[in-house]
Symmetry: C2
Subunit: 451 residues, 2 copies
């Protein structure tokens, strides 16, 4: 009999797992369930579609259900919500949302790729028609349509993390007066103070109103069902449009019934083969935690890069392969208007919590030679462990050339190089591209003097 | 008595060595000799000064002799040519070119930083007034002045290496019709075929006339002493201006008298402390060979990055320190009009000569996500060893973002990562900066399938 592989979730890790499983075992019967309308799309690209940098909404979709079936040989069932895993019987209970019918599907191997869900305020009117999250293609399309049809003049964005930053730029690009309500002193809580200040400066420079230390108390709606104002610890803010970008958490509702283990951050923990504790069940993507390679701790890093790799590995192993995913350092970047911002490795705060004795240095350097046209300042904040001299993490931010430099430090961090080894790296010098002493080398040299 | 440290050569490694020596031993008496007028300048920046990207000629100079004396405490003697090393007596014989006087200087430690000299055609009229090399600041200034005053319409560039590429762009920027005479089939002989073809395409696209397989036979001069035409194996080419960019070789004339050992490429070989075989004599910069960290062979890599590090180490050790320079992978880049071109590590040819069983792959990827404005193609040519699966070298070329990516591969090469390890690198995905599968990862994945 044909091997039956079921995959739950269709955004990133799911299609990756399903396609890989079918490639590894072409005889397998691979079926993917997605509760929404779309599969295989980029949530990361949504802000750029809303901000009009990406013109066609079709560009956000890598595979339609039809194409995934044709090209990869995966059966795709959209509008199908998996409601229960019967691990002992190796069955899924699936609701067909179109026909309101519940059916059981049997599997030999199961891959969970249920992704993440947006955090909520827990307030009334949170699902009003002018309140949006940017957590699915449908939601993104709806937001874009809302902006085009209703032409909102003032928007509130609640939450100043990565998505909050991208949405600030997207809304300002649409000519919307944008206020960012943030619970902390500075935006982007995962970064170091210096980078966070630079981000704030860039927001303000581009006309975003930043409100610090804000907690939302009430969403006030009018009779049409639109939120017209948000009452907060810092006063009332009126708006025609509200974006909630409060971060995400693992979507693991199915796990309890199957007794799948969760980690300290609420995500599924797996071994390097992406196998869960339950026999025949694999998992990948934003529903999982990730082993951080810098401090060897479970971390929740919901990123497309990690998701697609985990999905790939889960799919290969579900089909009988022997792939492994060892973990991630966390390599992430965001464009905040004209500012490039990247983080690789762990923060100084995470390093302290992991028991490292943190030494750090913050420097500025030139992207090109200082007098070459188009040169920009690049800032490097390098974080190391005093005892081992190992580089643990970095913020790299500034003008053009900041983010790609972060990848170079990323490899150094992944390879556990010391500050001294980073300083000795052989790097390119060429006037149009990099100065004789690249900002990375300057940072390592300056940091080495702090030990 | 004060320690006497003499440094010969003032461009890159020399000032670096002298400054470092003085810093390590502030009581030392450090003197630097330079036969020309200028010290501490960037030859690499000259093409951009000639091409009008860099506006002020003073910007090319890091330290004037006066400033190096004031700021670093180094005595600087310009227009002083060192003519002989008397190693047994620990003496230098130095000619003061201004006063035509020869004097002896005694040293406790000597640092040789005599740099490189331009290769010559060995033909008459090679030093005619409209024939230039780009090997010193004075020569660069003279060329710029020649262009501004004599407004040449047609130029010949002889030699299609890195400097030849940069000079093509510099001359075209000046509105000069430029013909490149090259001895091989394709420009840039150190790169792989694919990159070389791309470079040729970019040259032609920008109006440069490329003449392949050319050997120069005669430089024809007029009565004014200007070369008016070059007679070659491929016919005669007339010109108002001739640039010779034939590459450089180590300037080691002083070494014979002191019995300083030279390596297979004609440069000084040193230990990791930059000490030569002769007691008390150190060397650094373009007069030296460099241990290539990829194949562990002596190589001649005349680059400012290597020179300044070697100079630094030579200076520190001359003053009694214990610094080391372990070698370089070769990390180099050039801008060819709109094309970014970088090489890290060794070429497939060098790999074969070093006994590796070469496997390579050439791929194209996107710099950003494919539909993000400003996305450019990035090409990666990855070279690995079949047996160990180690990545040995890479060409990275294409649009914006190619050169900085090469540095990321550079770290991987330096750390001796395998193709599989490169494929597993955790790299940034962010639509404005990099696609989900960075070209580096695509290259590693495709290459891994060739084993």
């Amino acid at each position: 009999m044909k091997q039956r592989i079921l995959v739950v979730g269709g955004v990133a890790a799911g299609p990756s797992a399903a396609s890989k499983a079918k490639r590894v075992n072409p005889n397998a019967d691979v079926t993917l369930f997605e509760q929404g309308e779309h599969i295989s799309y980029g949530i990361c690209e949504l802000p750029y579609y809303i901000g009009n940098e990406v013109k066609e909404k079709e560009q956000l979709i890598t595979y339609t259900p039809q194409r995934l079936e044709q090209v990869k040989g995966v059966k795709v069932k959209i509008f199908h919500r998996v409601e229960e895993i019967r691990a002992v019987k190796k069955q899924l209970v699936v609701r067909d949302l179109d026909r309101e019918k519940v059916q059981e599907y049997e599997y030999d191997r199961l891959v969970l790729a249920t992704g993440a869900k947006s955090r909520r305020l827990g307030l009334d009117n949170e699902d009003a028609r002018n309140v949006f999250r940017v957590n699915s293609l449908s939601e993104g399309y709806a937001l874009k349509q809302f902006i085009e049809e209703e032409k909102p003049l003032r928007a509130l964005i609640v939450g100043g993390g990565y998505i909050g930053m991208e949405m600030c730029e997207a809304l300002v690009n649409n000519g919307i007066e944008t206020t960012l309500l943030h619970q902390g002193e500075l935006p982007m809580s995962g970064l170091e103070q210096e980078a966070r200040k630079a981000v704030l400066g860039e927001l303000v420079k581009n006309g975003v109103h930043f409100k610090r230390n804000i907690h939302c108390r009430r969403l006030k709606a009018n009779e049409k069902g639109n939120v017209v104002a948000v009452d907060t610890s810092g006063g009332e803010f009126s708006a025609d449009l509200v974006i909630l970008s409060l971060g995400v958490e693992p979507n693991v509702e199915l796990c309890a019934s199957a007794r799948i283990h969760l980690g300290p951050n609420g995500g599924i923990t797996t071994d390097q083969r992406q196998a869960t504790n339950v026999d025949t069940i694999f998992a990948g993507g934003d529903c999982c935690e990730v082993k951080n390679l810098v401090n060897n701790k479970w971390m929740y890093i919901p990123l497309a890069t990690t998701a697609s790799k985990q999905g790939w590995v889960a799919g290969e192993n579900a089909a009988g392969g022997k792939a492994t995913f060892k973990g991630a350092i966390r390599a992430v970047a965001v464009k905040v208007f004209g500012l490039e911002v990247a983080q690789v490795g762990i923060s100084s705060e995470e390093a302290r919590q992991s028991g490292f004795d943190v030494v750090s240095e913050h420097i500025s350097g030139d992207s090109k030679i200082s007098f070459y046209p188009g040169n920009a300042k690049v800032f490097v904040h390098l974080i190391a462990d005093k005892k081992s001299r190992r580089v643990l993490g970095a913020n790299v931010y500034g003008g053009v050339g900041s983010v790609l430099r972060a990848n170079t430090l990323g490899v150094a961090i992944q390879q556990r190089l010391t500050v001294d080894e980073v300083f000795r790296l052989d790097m390119i010098y060429s006037p149009p591209f990099a100065p004789l002493w690249d900002p990375i080398l300057i940072a390592a040299n300056q940091l080495s003097k702090r030990f």
